[in-house]
Amino acid sequence: MLSIYYGEMPEVIYNPARYFKNTYTDEWITDELSRKMIKDIDKSEVIGPRIIDSPVLGGISPRELSGGVKTLICIYKKPDKIFNASACGDNCAKWLLEIGKVMDVTINLRHIMDFGDGEFTVKILNTGQIIHSMEELIPVAGMIVR
């Protein structure tokens, strides 16, 4: 399940992009879910572990992926760590929910991310509540972050 802690969190990795740059391996890039996230968020194709075809920047290395997709891959590949997911835009929200379906992960959010109109299941660690929609989430998260 995806668990979310809202607000400041001392043990969080605040800059996931930097952590990614210094820890990623080839397998992080060629993983099937990573490929899908890179395709969806960055509109880029993984050609191989060290080369990605970006429609804007041309051939790029994994270090030049967007901050959002780097954060998603960190959350997916290092579920024992807690990352600042406010480095992700709303277009990453569905992938956070997907990751939460296949493993237990905790993220830190410092803003109200829009998880969309559908139903989902996340746990708010600040209050212990299980949440199933944005209608339920906003009154809870809105008391902690803006």
């Binding site: 605040y14 800059n15 992009a17 930097r18 968020i41 960055d42 509109k43 429609p55 804007v56 920047l57 041309g58 967007s66 901050g67 959002g68 997709v69 406010s86 480095a87 992700c88 835009g89 709303d90 277009n91 990453c92 410092r110 803003h111 972050v145 803006r146």
Partner: protein, 184 residues
């Protein structure tokens, strides 16, 4: 520093054109829209000028601020446009808000976090989007758009009730402008 400042920055791949209208502008929005690329280009142009291969047009110097030494660096920057990327933990702090208030720079802040200590307008919160506008054979053109729309509330809103936080200046202000109107 006052007024509107137009910035155009480009390399062989991308081109950005936007105006900063007030001293604090916030950029947020979806991932992979080019926010960090913009900041990196501003920094590379500052470091190397035209030798960077980047073209920048602006009537003010554009700088990037970041890292642990920001407190030392910021007082040395004057009459400039300062860009700060989202990976800087000092952005929502009181200390940074004080430093901004004491300086005459414009600030372009990339963050999704609320910045309750800084007085910025909802009209100056932007996203970046790719435009169909012609930029060049290989360039992708980026422009800013209002995240929260471009409203003209004085033309559209006719409130029946106004609720203010307390009975001080906010109440007195709205009482004044509500006189003779059918508000409660």
């Amino acid at each position: 520093m006052k007024g509107i400042h137009q910035i155009t920055i480009s390399n062989a791949s991308v081109r950005y054109e936007f105006s900063l209208k007030r001293n604090i502008t916030v950029i947020r929005g979806d991932s992979a829209t080019g926010k960090t690329t913009l900041v990196e280009m501003i920094n590379e142009y500052y470091e190397s000028g035209q030798e960077s291969g980047i073209e920048l047009r602006c009537d003010k110097q554009c700088r990037v601020l970041g890292g642990r030494d920001w407190k030392t660096l910021l007082p040395t920057i004057r009459d400039s446009i300062v860009f700060i990327d989202e990976d800087n933990e000092f952005l929502p702090t009181d200390e940074f808000a004080r430093a901004v208030r004491e300086s005459d720079n414009y600030y372009c802040l990339i963050t999704r976090e609320g910045l309750p200590n800084l007085p910025y307008s909802v009209e100056e919160i932007y996203g970046i989007r790719t435009s169909g506008k012609y930029a060049g054979l290989r360039q992708v053109y980026h422009e800013f758009y209002h995240i929260y729309g471009n409203h003209r509330p004085h033309e559209l809103v006719r409130p029946e009730e106004l609720i203010v936080e307390d009975s001080n200046s906010g109440f007195e202000f709205f009482s004044g402008i509500s006189e003779g109107k059918n508000y409660t």
